[in-house]
Amino acid sequence: MTDKLCPDFAAAVADIPDGATIGFAGFGMPGTPFNLIAALAEHRARDLTLVANTTGGAQLPRMPDIGMLVERGKVRKVICAFTAATRASDVLPFTKYYETGEVAAELVPQGTLAERLRAAGAGIPAFYTPTGVGTELAEGRETRVIDGREYLLEYALKLDYAFLRARRADETGNLQFHRSQRNFNPVMATAARTALVEVEDPILPAGAMDPDAVHLPGIYIHRMVRVPPPPAGLWPQKRQERAPR
């Protein structure tokens, strides 16, 4: 069987072409593939479409994120649940590129984003959801009344690549996540043709992980890279609280 372990992050992202659609796990710090993002920032690919919960930039201290890829001019479009901060006083790095039209964006409710990715992985091309009905997001969109309630039609969101981060992996690619690190990791992987994961603990031999305790089966994983200890590798940091408003 193919060896899924890559020597370093640069090797893992080396074949990503211009125009690829890439999904990023992570909700806040947990589960965010910082090291793979940093490698992508150094990689030549441009004209990318990125899919993630946020456009980044809200974290203190700032870690490699989508905002960084945008700032380097590598991004054509972002599909996410936040194109601006919800507090008027916060300004995301992404926002100015979006406002000037340098980068396009598609704003999607977080649950719809997760479900569109899940649908892509589950071979469901489209589904109906109550989320967003009656809002600006529904304008001009197809709706349908089912059992007296109105729903929006949403389409599967397929990825070329998914970037993940997990606590543990075995050599077949079976993954386990720690606490809220799980978040978008499974759906990003299942939606993608090729899934890359950065792994925190030493890779386990096949058979060392209880089959009942696998969070994401290894059949979805194509490339794995161990995260080196800090400072060489990037790890979640304690968030500095912003001053209360």
């Binding site: 710090m29 947990p30 974290q59 936040f82 409710p109 809002t135 759906v187």
Partner: protein, 211 residues
């Protein structure tokens, strides 16, 4: 002496409505303070969009698990009986109607129960997060917000001027001036905060009030 409810008191008035066994989702900001309220002997389960079910207080400094956050990014703790699921399963819980109440901040709430909390006037884009899913699918939407904007404009209005998050869903609003229930044509005053008179509220409100 300050009149009206403090931020914590607004949260307390909302938390006082939580029933035993409810599954509760708290939005970022003032709603987070609901988890500080002592509602014993009742017990609720806090759910966070990122798939954490049954989280507890914010971790004490030095004991944080950096892989465990609530929807506001705080490093929280887990209570006995907690469970973690992935994002699609977490929103299956939300859309499936298992959240008994979602408590959110808002820019505006209309008498018809519409509310707006994701996009500012004139902005390109905004921050939806999980608000639209929660608003459309939770059993109840409770809102906590200041009664007026910093510029003094009313936030309880006849119709929302800002793009709405969901329509006709708000059941209760707590502001620094009191508790209000949207009834379609007007807000009913459920209670007034200490030291707050009805006339002061009427002057700060953009639509009709009922007692």
């Amino acid at each position: 002496m300050t009149q009206g409810y403090t931020r914590q008191q607004m949260a307390d008035r909302i938390a006082a409505r939580f029933q035993d066994g409810w599954i509760v989702n708290l939005g970022v900001g003032i709603p987070t303070l609901c988890s500080n309220t002592d509602i014993s002997p009742r017990h609720v389960i806090y759910h966070s969009e990122n798939g954490v079910i049954g989280y507890g207080p914010v971790a004490v400094a030095g004991a944080e698990d950096l892989d465990l956050v609530n929807a506001g990014g705080q490093n929280v703790t887990l209570l006995a009986g907690a469970a973690v699921v992935h994002h699609a399963d977490s929103f299956a819980i939300i859309r499936g109607g298992r959240i008994d109440v979602t408590v959110m901040g808002a820019y505006e709430v209309s008498a018809g129960g519409d509310f707006a909390n994701w996009k500012l006037a004139g902005a390109k884009g905004g921050g939806i997060g999980g608000a639209m899913d929660l608003a459309a699918c939770a059993q109840r939407v409770f809102i906590i917000m200041e009664h007026v904007t910093r510029a003094g404009a009313p936030r309880l209005v006849e119709r929302c001027a800002l793009p709405v998050t969901a329509r006709g869903v708000v059941r209760l609003v707590a502001t620094d001036l009191g508790l209000f229930e949207p009834l379609g044509e007007a807000f009913r005053i459920v209670e007034l905060a200490p030291g707050i008179g009805r006339d002061a509220v009427a002057a700060a409100t953009g639509t009709a009030l009922l007692d």
